[in-house]
């Protein structure tokens, strides 16, 4: 039986966490995502599934609690918004370096600094290029609906455990706060076993399980980095996700993810009413980025407008994909402002078609 509910994006994250059999959530309040922990606390997940929910003293503490729980092979997650995610960067680097699976949700708000609590997409670089120190990547998924907020929690944990790598859901205050219909998946029981690498207490029958990112010998540290890079190449080969909307006959293309892609969908409609053949390409995985799919579309269309609620971050990846073959421009509102469909169309007409 399908279970349909009207939910906020943040609530869908929380409900999906319980249903996918997560073992632990550690977090610290910050707008616009506090509903995640509020929903969890109200649901008494310790009674529903035995899931642990704890309000930490800071985002620094919560990401390190995640490290501890993930090091035990448990499904652990946190959520925060931009300033809190900045505080987690050292911890995320350790988690990537120790090859631990976990899920981190960033409900992005406008920055820099304390910025604004309104939605933004200005954390793209931080999310997709590493964020903390050292050569590492998070797997980054960008939902564009409350349904995907729910589904990507499950997918995110699956990817995290498959690759022993931290996964980030990069969303924003608009999707976090808006209410939509969601089809919830059925409760998945929490796992009763842990992976063999996990810290569970060392029996006499095996060697120690050690969770660490330390390797002082530079030769061995380089070998470890090569191993990580091999994993990232595999992720890049296998885990690219995107959606193409009205791209078949498109002469121009919007590239946008998350909230921007929702707005662009309307811009596509407005353009086509005027006889302009525009398509929308929506990257779903931001790391790995769909370079190849954009490259092949660049052979078909005359120009691309990258639409992002930032001063222009994703456009760098689009340009890398396009190799200067066609014109690629950026249009963005930022600092918490969101573009409207007509202004995006106007930008296409002036920057790409007319320009």
């Amino acid at each position: 039986m399908k279970e349909l509910r009207l939910m906020k994006g943040n609530e869908a994250i929380a409900e999906a966490a319980i249903r996918c059999g997560a073992d632990a959530y550690f977090g610290y309040p910050i707008t616009p995502q506090s509903e995640v922990m509020e929903y969890l606390m109200a649901e008494r997940p310790e009674q529903r599934t035995g899931m642990v929910v704890l309000q930490a003293e800071s985002e620094v503490a919560s990401i390190n609690m995640i490290y501890g729980a993930a090091g035990c092979g448990k499904k652990a997650m946190t959520s925060s918004s931009s300033p809190g995610i900045s505080l987690m960067q050292e911890g995320l680097s350790y988690i990537a370096g120790a090859e631990l699976p976990c899920l981190v949700v960033n409900v992005v708000r406008g920055g820099p600094g304390l910025g604004t609590i309104q939605p933004s997409q200005a954390d793209y670089f931080q999310a997709t290029k590493g964020g903390g120190h050292g050569d590492y990547h998070l797997i980054v998924l960008a939902p564009a609906s409350v349904q995907e907020m729910c589904d990507f929690v499950k997918d995110g944990f699956d990817l995290a455990f498959q690759y022993r790598n931290p996964v980030m859901i990069l969303t924003d205050g608009a999707i976090g706060q808006m209410m939509e219909k969601v089809e919830l998946f059925e409760q998945i029981p929490r796992s009763e076993t842990q992976p063999e690498w996990a810290c569970v207490g060392k029996p006499a029958t095996r060697g120690r399980s050690i969770i660490t990112s330390l390797e002082l010998d530079p030769n061995r540290q380089e070998q470890f980095n090569l191993k990580l890079q091999k994993k990232y190449r595999e992720i890049e080969a296998k885990e690219v996700r995107y959606e193409k909307i009205q791209c078949d006959d498109a002469e121009y293309l919007f590239v946008a993810y998350g909230t921007s892609s929702r707005i662009c969908q309307k811009s596509v409609q407005l353009a086509r009413e005027k006889g302009i053949k525009v398509g929308l390409f929506r990257p779903i995985s931001l790391y790995p980025f769909p370079y190849e799919a954009i490259e092949s579309l660049s052979k078909q269309v005359k120009g691309i407008l990258s639409v992002e609620m930032s001063a222009g971050q994703m456009i760098e990846d689009i340009r890398l994909a396009v190799h200067d073959r066609i014109k690629v421009q950026h249009y963005g509102r930022f600092g918490g402002m969101m573009p409207v469909p007509s202004e995006i169309l106007q930008q296409l007409e002036t920057q790409i078609i007319g320009g």
């Binding site: 073992d23 632990a24 550690f26 642990v52 704890l54 930490a56 003293e57 800071s58 620094v60 503490a61 919560s62 390190n64 609690m65 995640i66 490290y67 501890g68 729980a69 993930a70 090091g71 035990c72 448990k74 652990a76 050292e90 911890g91 350790y94 120790a98 810290c199 569970v200 207490g201 060392k202 029996p203 006499a204 120690r208 399980s209 050690i210 969770i211 660490t212 990112s213 330390l214």
Partner: protein, 257 residues
């Protein structure tokens, strides 16, 4: 008195007076000769062995000289970011409430960069054991001032001695966390004499027994030496510790409920 005692006689099992705990790995300790870290490691491991709980124990190593504790202890361990061991231990204990979880931290780790994690883990009464090695200096990074460096004491970042007017006072974090209702056993020990070693071991044993009884957080400070950082010989270091550290950091139980 036996006249012709041979080597074989000496190493006979019945003549054994001291044995390395099985929970030490074969890896030689990397600590400076005379450093307290090795003895404190041994006490923790002896307690785990004697309680028979090593298979249910997960340790957390800090950033500091004991960052490689997991190479010497034959148990499952996690290495935490600088100062975050109590948060990591919280994550472990919350998902494995029946396991024994401990952190092993230096003073920079526990009382400077990790102060918030320390205080809040204590305040929540996390049912874990914290072993706090206070040597009044940053050993690993080469002898810089620590939160516990004594007034007037020299370190590489206070080469003319700690001036409390501009550098702040040494932090008695152990007395501070003893005020919190979440802590059940708070004690300060030392390991520079056999008598102190015995007392410190008893304290560590109690700290782990408290986990079994779900009493809340047990905190064992060990005032220790750092002859390399203090730039003196091991013997002088212990003498200096007794004369200068102990008056400021008096040994004994601070709280036991």
């Amino acid at each position: 008195m036996e006249e012709n005692i041979t080597l074989e006689d000496i190493i006979r099992p019945e003549n054994l007076v001291f044995q390395k705990t099985k929970l030490f790995t074969e890896k030689p300790l990397s600590y400076c000769p005379g450093c307290g870290h090795g003895v404190i490691h041994r006490l923790v491991l002896e307690v785990l062995e004697e309680m028979g709980i090593s298979e249910q124990t997960i340790g957390v190593a800090p950033v500091g000289c004991s960052v490689l504790a997991y190479e010497f202890m034959d148990i499952d361990m996690q290495q935490a970011a600088h100062g975050r061991a109590p948060a990591v231990a919280t994550g472990i204990k919350r998902v494995f409430p029946e396991k024994f979880v401990f952190t092993y931290q230096g003073d920079g780790d526990l009382a400077a960069i990790g102060t918030a994690e320390t205080i809040h883990a204590c305040n929540r009464g996390e049912n874990i054991t914290i072993i706090f090695v206070n040597n009044g200096i940053y050993g690993m990074t080469g002898g810089q001032m620590a939160p516990t460096t004594l007034p007037g004491m020299r370190a590489s970042t206070c080469p003319y001695g700690r001036d409390v007017k501009s550098m702040g006072h040494p932090l008695k974090i152990t007395e501070l966390i003893a005020q919190l209702p979440g802590t059940s056993f708070v004690t300060r020990q030392a390991v520079h004499t056999p008598g102190n070693v015995r007392k410190a071991k008893k304290a560590i044993l109690k700290a782990f027994q408290n986990q079994k009884e779900k009493k809340g957080l047990s905190f064992v400070e060990v005032v220790s030496n750092c002859n390399s950082g203090w730039k003196v010989s091991p013997v002088q270091a212990n003498k200096w510790m007794v004369e200068n550290m102990f008056p400021f950091y008096p040994l004994g139980d601070i709280k036991d409920v």
